[in-house]
């Protein structure tokens, strides 16, 4: 629910409740006052009748004037108290039921007991109340409409800087070297928010750059000693006077350095992907790229008599070009490494997904740990267990999903982008 809607809803309900309560109490109090007025008039009439009876000893002739009637009825006993009541009485002149206020009291006129009814029409009073209520109601309606319109227009204008800021932040990318510029606003709260956002984002950007720098430095610092060791070993193996034992030692060191530098490269690659340093995307012709990779791997497969079946559809996807290369390399390397001689590899590229299936003598991989770093099915194998995490990571940043399935000694990985 939008803030406006929520605000308007609460505002509307509150206003209506307040106005209704006010109208009801207004009605009750006006009615109370007006009826009090009528009662005063009736009391005056009572006093006049009592004064007349005291002076003359008889009841006055009942004169029916407009809106007022007096009637007498003989009574058996004298009513002690006077009584007020409201009721509808048939008005013969107007030929309709009309509300009347009636005062009843007892009187002793020349020894005879009477009940006196003085009736006064409330029609005028009701009219007054009605018109007052009508005016109140119209006023309420006008105020509601006005406040709705004002709120809508005013709030929209007031919140504009907020939406501008949102739009700016939405377009913000950490790895693009751009600082945020918000449109100027005079509202203190928004100025404050923009300041905080500017500060936070520039801080994040700075941290990101530092991290990136660290990655690059780490790469440099690690690669140089590795390069030295490898170059020394390259020189050492040239020595023709190496004994068989020494030669074996050098070989082992050489292989270990290979592993170490590969490991370092894989870890750096993972860090770089995590740091979003491969954010630049292009439209990649996946069919062409897959064909190129298949061509590159063909020799290896032929060498191991691995048969390959390929079915490719024309597909273009938006992703980083380097990552696309690495992804395919890793998928194909895996399918080759965990295969056996006379085995097979099946590559299927459709509009929605890329599926690579390979035969293998290895059992099903642990689905929960498969993509975690350094996951290896068997210890001491020649690979570092980072290949699948790199694949997973690349799929993550490219918005793809990766699925693993295992049937009939066939391992299958499916990358889908829809």
């Amino acid at each position: 629910m939008r803030l406006f809607t929520k605000y308007n809803r609460i505002n509307l309900i509150a206003t209506i409740v307040i106005f209704l309560t006010a109208s009801v109490s207004f009605y009750i109090s006006i009615r109370y006052i007006l009826i009090g007025q009528v009662d005063e008039d009736l009391k005056i009439e009572q006093r006049e009748i009592q004064t007349y009876v005291k002076e003359h000893g008889i009841l006055p002739e009942p004169i029916t004037v407009k809106d007022q009637k007096i009637s007498y009825a003989p009574a058996t006993e004298l009513a002690e108290k006077r009584k007020f009541k409201t009721s509808t009485v048939y008005d013969s002149t107007a030929k309709e039921q009309n509300p009347f206020r009636i005062l009843q009291f007892g009187i002793n006129a020349g020894g005879k007991l009477y009940d006196v009814d003085v009736e006064k029409s409330l029609e005028g009073t009701d009219d007054l109340i009605n018109s007052i209520l009508l005016i109140t109601f119209i006023t309420i309606l006008l105020i509601l409409v006005a406040s709705l319109v004002i709120n809508r227009v005013l709030l929209k204008r007031l919140w504009k800087p907020f939406y501008n800021t949102l739009k700016t932040v939405q377009n913000f990318k950490l790895d693009k070297k751009q600082s945020l510029h918000f449109p100027a606003t005079k509202i203190d709260e928004f100025v404050f928010m923009n300041q905080i956002l500017e500060k936070t984002t520039s801080q994040a950007q700075q941290d990101y750059l530092l991290l990136k720098e660290f990655t690059e430095n780490a790469s440099h610092e690690m690669q140089t000693p590795l390069a030295i060791i490898r170059s020394k070993l390259d020189l050492l193996i040239q020595d023709e006077n190496l004994s068989e034992n020494q030669s074996k030692t050098v070989q082992s060191s050489y292989q270990a350095i290979e592993k170490l530098s590969r490991l370092n490269q894989s870890l750096l690659l993972l860090t770089k992907i995590e740091n979003n340093q491969y954010a630049e995307t292009v439209l990649v012709n996946l069919k062409q790229k897959t064909e190129e990779k298949i061509f590159a791997f063909q020799e290896l497969w032929q060498n191991q008599n691995i048969s390959v079946s390929v079915s490719l559809e024309e597909v273009f996807i938006n992703m980083n070009n380097e990552l696309a290369d690495i992804l395919l390399n890793n998928l194909f390397s895996n399918a080759t490494r965990h295969n056996f001689a006379q085995g097979f590899i099946r590559v299927e590229l459709s509009g929605k997904q890329l599926n690579i299936t390979n035969s293998s003598s290895q059992k099903k991989l642990d689905e929960h740990r498969l993509f975690t770093r350094f996951y290896k099915q068997a210890e001491g194998e020649g690979y570092n267990g980072l290949g699948l995490s790199i694949i997973k990571q690349i799929c993550g940043v490219s918005g793809f999903t990766i699925r693993y399935s295992f049937t009939d000694q066939q391992h299958s990985f499916t990358v889908s982008w829809v």
Binding site: S231, D234, Q238, E322, S333
Partner: protein, 224 residues
């Protein structure tokens, strides 16, 4: 032919010079930015091996200095940065090639040789070696003037060997040279054997001396 190695890591610089010294290269060294600038302004080199991170300045500035001085020296950048952007940037700035650390010395040697060939042969781009004659433009090999039919990989392999005569080259180095470093196949280098075997067979059949020796467990050597 003179080669200048601009690399602040003395040990690495030593290794490079030792390896290249046997290839009829005279190696000179610069360990920092300023001595590098001084050396390139005084002398001409057939090839300059240039590290990007140098004390006192960037290797790319050395490159700019070279290019603004209209020097014809070939430049091979060696750097720990392996992103495509860095490579493209260096090549656009005028470098002839880009090699990521850690590298194999035979690879470095082959690249230096290639740069020098490109710079100096000018048209008659040929490499001759005893009975072997390689045409680098047409990518053909002749033995005693007779054409030998080699696959692309076998041809590349032969040039690689010739650039590293009398050197033990490991299988790892050969694999990376032929397939690049993306193919993460760890210790499985059996497939190289097939290529070497075929190359040897074709050369011997064409009447060539069997130069390629297998060094047990290590790799191969093109011994003359």
């Amino acid at each position: 032919m003179k080669v200048l190695v601009i690399e602040d890591e003395k040990e690495l610089s030593d290794s490079i010079c030792t390896y290249l010294a046997n290839e009829q290269f005279v190696c000179e060294r610069a360990l920092d930015f300023h001595s590098a600038i001084e050396k390139i302004s005084l002398y001409d080199y057939a090839c300059i091996i240039l590290d990007v991170n140098l004390p006192g300045g960037s290797g790319l500035d050395v490159l700019n200095e070279l290019k603004s001085g209209n020097k014809m020296d070939g430049v091979l950048i060696i750097s720990a940065r392996n992103s495509l952007d860095d490579k493209v940037f260096a090549l656009k700035a005028g470098a002839d090639d880009y090699l990521t650390k850690p590298f194999y010395l035979p690879e470095l040697s082959a690249r230096v040789a290639a740069i020098i060939r490109r710079k100096s042969f000018e048209g008659k781009n040929q490499v001759s070696f005893n009975e072997l004659n390689l045409d680098l433009t047409e990518k053909t090999v002749r033995i005693n003037d007779k054409l030998v039919d080699l696959t692309r990989k076998e041809y590349e392999l032969l040039i690689y060997f010739i650039s590293n005569k009398n050197r033990v080259i490991t299988k790892n180095a050969i694999a990376e040279h032929l397939w690049g470093d993306n193919m993460d196949l760890a210790d499985n280098y059996d497939f190289i054997y097939t290529h070497i075997k075929n190359l040897r067979k074709k050369l011997i059949q064409a009447g060539c001396t069997d130069y390629i020796k297998s060094i047990y467990g290590m790799g191969y050597k093109f011994s003359v």
